[in-house]
C-alpha cells in the first residue's frame, strides 16, 4: 500500500476559490464542515459550542423586568458598501431594535439564506464582519441556521437576525407616549446609509464618498438612560427615514409635530447627493441614528448625555410635539416658510426636472 490514509482527514474548505453549493445546506458533511470552519470559528462562544438545535441560556438577570425580542431581515444590495456590509448591518440593525425599546441586548440568533454559486470568499468576509460587530457590541450570536437555495432563487445572501434583550423594571418607552410640549432630539446627521447604498448601487461616483452610518446604538442608549431624563420614546429611523419615523410616532401618540429644518443635522455631502438626485434626505434610510422624544424640562440634560457619546456627538434638538387632531408633522423650513412632512408615498423616486 502506498501512501498513508490520514485518519479523520477532511480537506479544508477553499474559501478563496470556492462557491456555495447545494450540499452546504443539505444537512450532511459539507454543511457541518461549513459551520465548523466558518460560523463556529467566527462567532465562537460557549452557547454556540453546545452544538444543540437551540441555545440554552441563563435565566433573566432579575425577577422584575421584561424580555424584549426583535427580528430583522436583511436583503441589502450591494452587499458591500462604504462603511459596512450586510454582515455588520444585520448585527447593528437588530441590536438597535432591541436597544431603542430601552432594553439591554443580550443575545442574537442568525439565519442565513445562501444562493447556490455565492462565492465563499464573500460569505467569509460577511460572516467575519458580523462576528466582529457582535464582538464589539458585546452581544454574541448564540444560535443560527443556514439554508441554500438554487441559483437564481436568492440574491446572493439574505441574513435574518433576532435579538433578545432585557428591559429593567420601570422603563416603558413607547411610540404612543409622546405628549404636547415634548421635545424631539436626533442623535446625528440623516441620510448617510441610504445615500452610501444608492451611490454604490447606481454607480454614482460622488467626489466626497458618503459612508454608511451603520452602528450599534445600545451604548448610546445606555448613556441616555443613565442621564435620568424622562424619555417617552426612542426610535431608530431606518427605512423611510426620519420623516416616516416621526409620522409613525405622531399617529401612535395622536399628536402633531413641528420640526426646525435648520436644526436637523445633515452632512454637506449627503445634502449635495440628495440634491443631485432629487431626493429628500428626510426620507432616506439611517442605520446608526436614533430619535428621542422627551419631556421639555429634561431635553438639555438628555442632549448633553447624547453629545458626550461618540455616536451622539452631532445630536441636536430638532423640534417639538404639539396638539394636532390631524397628527400632521410640519416643518419650519430653513427658508422661513412652513410645510408638511408627510408620509412617503410608495418608494422615493428621483425627479427628472
Amino acid at each position: 500500500m502506498s501512501g498513508a490514509v490520514r485518519k479523520d482527514y477532511v480537506r479544508p474548505i477553499d474559501f478563496k476559490h470556492g462557491c456555495v453549493d447545494m450540499t452546504h445546506g443539505s444537512g450532511g458533511r459539507a454543511m457541518a464542515q461549513l459551520i465548523e470552519e466558518l460560523f463556529l470559528r467566527a462567532f465562537d462562544n460557549d452557547y454556540l459550542r453546545q452544538g444543540n438545535d437551540g441555545a440554552l441560556l441563563p435565566p433573566p438577570p432579575a425577577a422584575a423586568g421584561r424580555m424584549v425580542l426583535a427580528t430583522d431581515a436583511h436583503v441589502v444590495s450591494p452587499l458591500f458598501f462604504p462603511g459596512g456590509d450586510i454582515g455588520c448591518l444585520s448585527v447593528h440593525g437588530t441590536i438597535n431594535d432591541v436597544a431603542v425599546m430601552g432594553a439591554r441586548p443580550l443575545w442574537l440568533a442568525a439565519s442565513f439564506i445562501l444562493e447556490e454559486g455565492f462565492p465563499l470568499a464573500d460569505l467569509q468576509r460577511i460572516v467575519e464582519s458580523m462576528a466582529a460587530a457582535a464582538r464589539d457590541a458585546g452581544v454574541p450570536v448564540v444560535t443560527g441556521d443556514t439554508k441554500v437555495v438554487e441559483r437564481g432563487k436568492g440574491d446572493g445572501i439574505f441574513i435574518t437576525t433576532t435579538g433578545f434583550g432585557w428591559l429593567t423594571a420601570g422603563i416603558d418607552w413607547r411610540g404612543d407616549r409622546a405628549e404636547e410640549g415634548d421635545v424631539i432630539l436626533l442623535s446625528g446627521g440623516i441620510g448617510e446609509h441610504g445615500m452610501a447604498i444608492l451611490g454604490q448601487r447606481e454607480n454614482l461616483a460622488f467626489d466626497a464618498p458618503i459612508v454608511s452610518d451603520t452602528a450599534a446604538l445600545h451604548e448610546l442608549v445606555a448613556a441616555m438612560q443613565a442621564s435620568g431624563a424622562a424619555i417617552r420614546c426612542l426610535r431608530d429611523p431606518t427605512r423611510g427615514g426620519l420623516a416616516t419615523t416621526l409620522n409613525e410616532i405622531a399617529r401612535q401618540s395622536h399628536v402633531g409635530m413641528l420640526l426646525d429644518e435648520a436644526a436637523i443635522p445633515l452632512q454637506p455631502a449627503v445634502a449635495a447627493a440628495c440634491e443631485f438626485l432629487g431626493l429628500d434626505p428626510l426620507y432616506v434610510a439611517n442605520e446608526g441614528k436614533l430619535v428621542a422624544i422627551c419631556a421639555a424640562a429634561d431635553a438639555d440634560c438628555l442632549l448633553a448625555a447624547m453629545r458626550a457619546h461618540p455616536l451622539g456627538a452631532q445630536a441636536a434638538r430638532i423640534g417639538s410635539v404639539h396638539a394636532d387632531p390631524q397628527h400632521f408633522v410640519q416643518m419650519q423650513t430653513r427658508f422661513g416658510g412652513k410645510r408638511m412632512v408627510d408620509w412617503l408615498n410608495g418608494e422615493q423616486l428621483p425627479r427628472i426636472c
Binding site: 447606481e202 454614482l204 454637506p268 445634502a271 449635495a272 440634491e275 438626485l277 429628500d280 390631524q326 400632521f328 410640519q330 419650519q332 423650513t333 430653513r334 427658508f335 422661513g336 416658510g337 412652513k338 410645510r339 408638511m340 408627510d342 408615498n345 410608495g346 418608494e347 423616486l349 428621483p350 425627479r351 427628472i352 426636472c353
Partner: protein
C-alpha cells in the same frame, strides 16, 4: 452647499417678501401661474406661500411631464414590457403612474416585466449594448429639457448600428401648452378666470431660450418672467411680475439670466430638430388634445422609433369623470375644490393627472400644504 444655499437664504427671503408686500396694490389681485412642476415643488417644499400677501395667488400649471402623460401612453410602455418582452428603461417618476386596469410600470415589473429605472438616457443605451440578444426600449418623456439627451442616444445608436434599441417618444413642448391655456375660452373671456402672468420655465428655457415666450406675452398681453427653480428665484420672479402688472406691461423678463439666454442652446435645438419632428396633435392628460405640442422621431431614424417598430396604435383612455384636473391645470379651480381630492384621489391612489407625481398641483398641495386647507380662503375672482 455652495451655489445652492445662496438661493435659499431666509434673510433674503424676508427682504424679498417685504418688497413684494410693498409693491402689491391693495384691492387688486395678482393671479400668477407657475408653469413648471419644478416651481410648484419649490413653492411647496419651502413654504413660499407663507411669504406672499393674501392678494398674490399662485396657480400650479401643467408643467409636470409625468402628470400630463396620458394613460394610453403608459399602456404602450407596459404592453412593450409585458407582452413584447422588451427591457423597458424609464426614468424613476413614471414608474408609479397608474395606467389602465390599475396597472403601472412598477406593478408590471412585479409580474415579471423587465422594467428598469435609469438615471439618464445614456444608461438605457448602455443596457442595450450589454444585452444584444434582448430588445431594449427607452421610455422617453419630458419637456424640452430631457429631449436633447434622447436625441443624442438615438444618434449614437444609429452610429453604432444597434439593432436591438428603440425609443418610445413622448416628449412634449412647453410653449404649445402655455398657448393652449391662454387660448382656452375661460381664460380669454375677460373676468372668468383671472390669470395675470406667468412664472416661466427654468430648465426648459435653458434649451429653448426666452424668445419663444415673446409671441404670447404680446399676443395675450400676459407678462412672463423666466425664473430658476430655487425659492429665491421664484420670489424675485413674483416681484418682477407684480411690477409688470402694476405698470400694465406684458414683457418677457429673465430672472434666470445666470443660465438662460434669449436664443437658448442652439446646438441642442439643432440636434433636436435633426432627430424629431412636431406631431400634429398630442393628448395631454388633463388638457386633452393640444395641437403641435409634442415630438415624434423623424422617418430617417424610423428603426429607433418604438411606435413604428412595434406597430403601437394610440388608444385614448378617459380619466375618472369626477376628476377636475383639466380645470385645475388651467387655474379655474384649486385642488381642494375637487370632490375627489384627498378622498378617492390621494398620492397613494391617484385618479387624476395632478395627483400622479409629487410635482403635480394636487400632489404638491396634498403633501406639503393640506394642513392649511382648513383655513384656506375660497377662491377669489378677478377684480
Amino acid at each position: 452647499m455652495k451655489y445652492i444655499d445662496e438661493f435659499r437664504d431666509g434673510v433674503l427671503a424676508k427682504n424679498l417678501a417685504a418688497s413684494i408686500a410693498a409693491a402689491v396694490m391693495p384691492g387688486r389681485s395678482y393671479n400668477l401661474m407657475e408653469f413648471c412642476g419644478g416651481h410648484t415643488h419649490a413653492i411647496s417644499r419651502y413654504g413660499l406661500n407663507d411669504y406672499l400677501p393674501d392678494n398674490v395667488r399662485m396657480i400650479h400649471g401643467p408643467g409636470c411631464p409625468v402628470c400630463v402623460l396620458p394613460i394610453g401612453r403608459i399602456d404602450h410602455a407596459i404592453a412593450l414590457a409585458v407582452e413584447r418582452g422588451v427591457i423597458l428603461c424609464s426614468y424613476g417618476d413614471p414608474l408609479r403612474v397608474p395606467a389602465s386596469g390599475g396597472a403601472s410600470l412598477l406593478k408590471s415589473k412585479a409580474r415579471g416585466g423587465d422594467v428598469r429605472m435609469v438615471y439618464s438616457a445614456a444608461a438605457a443605451l448602455d443596457i442595450a449594448r450589454a444585452h444584444p440578444q434582448r430588445e431594449v426600449v427607452f421610455f422617453a418623456i419630458g419637456f424640452e429639457t430631457t429631449t436633447p439627451p434622447t436625441a443624442v442616444i438615438i444618434k449614437q445608436a444609429q452610429a453604432a448600428g444597434l439593432k436591438n434599441f428603440s425609443v418610445l417618444c413622448n416628449h412634449v413642448l412647453t410653449p404649445a401648452a402655455i398657448n393652449h391655456i391662454l387660448a382656452s375660452p375661460e381664460v380669454r373671456e375677460y373676468g372668468t378666470v383671472p390669470l395675470d402672468g406667468f412664472v416661466g420655465p427654468a430648465h426648459v428655457s435653458t434649451i429653448i431660450g426666452s424668445r419663444p415666450y415673446e409671441p404670447f406675452a404680446a399676443g395675450f398681453h400676459k407678462p412672463v418672467v423666466i425664473a430658476g427653480f430655487e425659492p429665491l428665484d421664484v420670489m424675485q420672479a413674483i416681484l418682477m411680475l407684480v411690477r409688470q402688472v402694476n405698470d400694465g406691461r406684458a414683457e418677457v423678463e429673465n430672472e434666470f439670466f445666470r443660465a438662460v439666454t434669449r436664443d437658448g442652446n442652439r446646438k441642442a435645438q439643432a440636434l433636436v430638430a435633426e432627430v424629431f419632428e412636431v406631431r400634429e396633435s398630442f393628448e395631454w392628460r388633463g388638457l386633452g388634445e393640444v395641437p403641435d405640442s409634442a415630438l415624434r422621431i423623424r422617418p430617417a431614424y424610423a428603426t429607433f422609433d418604438a411606435e413604428r417598430r412595434y406597430g403601437l396604435e394610440y388608444v385614448p383612455v378617459p380619466d375618472n369623470r369626477a376628476c377636475e384636473c383639466g380645470v385645475i391645470l388651467r387655474g379655474i379651480k384649486r385642488p381642494e375644490d375637487c370632490k375627489l381630492f384627498g378622498t378617492a384621489c390621494t398620492p397613494e391612489n391617484p385618479l387624476g393627472a395632478c395627483m400622479v407625481s409629487s410635482e403635480g398641483a394636487c400632489a404638491a398641495h396634498y403633501t406639503y400644504g393640506r394642513y392649511k386647507s382648513t383655513d384656506m380662503k375660497t377662491q377669489g375672482t378677478a377684480a
